[in-house]
Symmetry: C2
Subunit: 477 residues, 2 copies
């Protein structure tokens, strides 16, 4: 039992930390003993928790026992090699250890003074990533929690460039302002809409440009939408192009978008949250041709660079533009050092030491190791695609540029019946336990997705997913 | 040397995790061997890091060696008991272990389905906190990274309540919209201004109401400011009252603000990021009389509830108001369960499992343990205040409701000379190593701050700070 109000004493902490080391090692080594999705109903965990905080302290061993009994089995196992839904991710060993060390230091990297090593390591790892993406040295980065925030910050900078008075005067009640328009494809992520809500653009002013047969933004349609808006007295400010859209991982024509943005003086933000990781391989970097002409780029190492959530890198060609939009230094945070204060580049004042885990991941794997694993994931997705294409019961629903396969079962029947069949199919497969696939709508039709992104995913997991699909198909057909 | 592209193998990971357990235990046990502020110049860390990511992977032991040699000594030691600057915080033992476990699970708590235990634990610990604050059961919470985001989300909900069309149409180019006004005191945190920038209100439309002699918002002046704005055709939408302002920890008159907001139909957001923690003690809860009438309240357990950064709880009286402002569910995230999907209540889609560490902290200490420690911190601040008041060379600069003392040296001389003396004084004290105090301006005058918030801070640390101040005073006078 702890002394009231005291932290664990050093010996207790050391013992508990070693128990946690084993809990983590056991979990990662044995994660496949769990179904990916816990077989519970909403409220099941809550029902086992007291309604109020305990009045008296409890021993750390009792807490860790409850963690083992109640929490660990009842999460969805994102760190399971059979997690093939959404975008599959990994909390890799070095990343987990980096997160633990960062929690021990517990620094706030808002100012250089409040944590020199954290600020300089953040600048360094962002430079490393910039180098891996073959971007000019003018790009500088900082780390946000999520791409939702990175995109919001980028669009705030775009707004500031379009109308610097917004910072002081805002958007409302001004006769001199037209509606501010942002363009993205009909495949872009919902975070563009959320940013448009937050920033006061409004969802209606997010122009969803149609995508082509391969789900890439139609650059012609983009040009026309911008021209039509100008003619109608609206004010285009930014284009969000996506490198690796959320459903099909398609890549918008970045070069064409960049040329259009240069001509129209619009901010180009590239949402490369997913495919930016792949772009550390030269063969995939080619698919992102024009990336270097963007004003800002978001890449999420927590998506496909094996870094635990959260870690979203926002790279800006003119970082001063972010600073101009946001910097606001109250008296109590003024310091005399000639150093970068990263709080000036975004919304959040408090900044966790996220660079540490990314540094440890990049060093553990090395650039070649990361490339090798990304290529292996792409190879596994290619295998699955080939199995789908070779089987008349299934078809691919989109090209597969990276490690995500969109597909569907095509039993005989009307589209609605096929859609319902696919919903049943994915539920059956997911109920089995060893794998988790996601489903969604693509141009109105239900499709299934298999995304390879976990470090421990091997060919046998992807094969298992295919076998389970075939078995479920046979049962349902 | 790791196999290219592979994570550590289980035995490697286990060994490294045990090494990290010892690194953490050694750090926490021996943190006082470091000066709180590292004695380095900007660029010193960076100069020792390669300009590019390594091509080949490196062993985890080499990485951890570098962590020990280069990173750990060169951070500002927020987890040091002599850290008495800004608001002092603690990454406590159970919190650090919770963060490590969360990184191992690596779940995303955006939807119930994507991590049932994480979502239900988040709801539960927010309810626990709500209970500790004696708030009605209608308040529900969710955890954000920072108070900057919690306040942004709250003000977005306020905006939505004032004009639901903003979500779709935005703020710009609309003839029907007046300037949207937000009120806070001249002592409120800069995050209100940052939210106003982001949300498109504009910094000019943050009305800084003057504070009284005790640095509390003047409710009369607030009422007049609102009336004047209405008369001038502007649109008041929200008041941000602060419970524990950043410089002096003053508490705005919440009851009066709530009554005014009810009458004027304005959203009341209470920034209790700091003092909300103290309010788990009945005697401090009394200072926050009226808190229960707020529309939203932000409390940061990473400030004074011994939880590692980041962890900011936003409690809303009508959580549906946050949902109405932000919910936006794309097809690929639609699920069939009747469960709470926490991504609907804010900007970020990705949501780290922050509830785990908070749960472990609340259980380890228990409510009584937390209260005991908070009272001890307040007692220590009271001692320091008494020493300052008893010494003619110093004076207090503000009342001390909690654990933060604002004070200054008062050598004979003009105000400018006194200010310069205080700047020199704090630099001398901080250069010594064992303690770190901050300085700022308060109503134009330089003041120093001593904030007690670290779990391991004892009377001897506070005494040391006072002794160092006296010694430096003698040298400089």
């Amino acid at each position: 039992m702890p002394k009231p109000g005291a932290d664990m004493d050093p010996a207790q902490f050391r013992a508990a930390a070693h128990r946690v080391a084993d809990l983590l090692a056991d979990y990662l080594e044995g994660v496949e003993r769990y179904p990916v999705l816990p077989k519970i109903q909403p409220g099941a965990v809550r029902a086992q928790l007291p309604a109020q905080a305990p009045a008296q302290g409890e021993s750390i061993d009792a807490i860790l026992d409850d963690y083992q009994a109640l929490i660990e089995p009842n999460v969805t196992h994102w760190n399971h090699p059979g997690f093939l839904a959404y975008f599959a991710i990994t909390g890799s060993g070095p990343g987990i250890l980096g997160e633990a060390l960062a929690a021990g230091l517990n620094v706030n990297a808002m100012l250089w003074r409040t944590s020199p090593a954290a600020v300089e390591l953040e600048e360094t790892v962002c430079d490393w990533l910039r180098g891996l993406l073959e971007l000019p040295a003018s790009f500088k980065g900082h780390i946000n929690d999520t791409a939702s925030i990175s995109t919001l910050v980028a669009l705030a900078a775009a707004r500031h460039r379009a109308d610097p008075a917004v910072r002081e005067k805002g958007l409302a009640g001004r006769g001199d302002l037209q509606a501010l328009r942002v363009y993205c494809s009909d495949q872009a992520h919902s975070s563009v809409d959320k940013a448009a809500i937050a920033l006061g653009f409004g969802v209606e002013n997010v122009v969803r440009v149609k995508s082509d047969a391969d789900f890439r933004m139609d650059a012609n349609a983009l040009g026309k939408a911008i021209a039509a808006d100008r003619a109608a007295g609206r004010r285009p400010i930014a284009v969000v192009a996506t490198a690796g859209t959320t459903v099909t991982t398609s890549v918008d024509p970045l070069r064409a978008a960049a040329e259009l943005c240069a001509r129209e003086k619009l901010w180009l933000h590239v949402d490369a949250a997913y495919a930016g990781s792949a772009a550390i391989c030269p063969e995939f970097r080619k698919l992102l041709d024009g990336l270097e002409a963007a004003d800002s780029i978001v890449v999420n190492p927590h998506k496909w660079l094996f870094t635990p959530v959260d870690c979203s890198v926002l790279l800006a060609r003119e970082p001063g533009a972010l600073r101009a939009a946001f910097a606001l230094v109250p008296e109590y945070l003024k310091t005399s050092e000639a150093a970068t204060n990263l709080m000036d580049y975004g919304v959040q004042l408090g900044r966790r030491f996220r660079a540490l885990k990314l540094w440890m991941v990049l060093r553990h794997f090395g650039a070649e190791g990361l490339r090798e694993r990304i290529r292996e994931h792409v190879r596994l997705a290619g295998l699955f695609k080939a199995w789908i294409e070779a089987d008349a019961r299934f078809e691919c629903a989109a090209p597969v540029p990276f490690s995500t396969v969109c597909f569907r079962a095509v039993p005989k029947g009307k589209p609605e019946a096929q859609d319902a069949f696919n919903e049943k199919l994915v539920n059956e497969v997911n109920a089995a336990g060893p794998v988790f696939l996601s489903s969604t709508k693509l141009r109105g039709r239900t499709i299934l997705r298999l995304a390879v992104g976990n470090l421990r995913t091997e060919e046998r997991h992807v094969r298992r997913a295919f076998d389970l699909l075939c078995e479920a198909y046979a049962r349902l057909a």
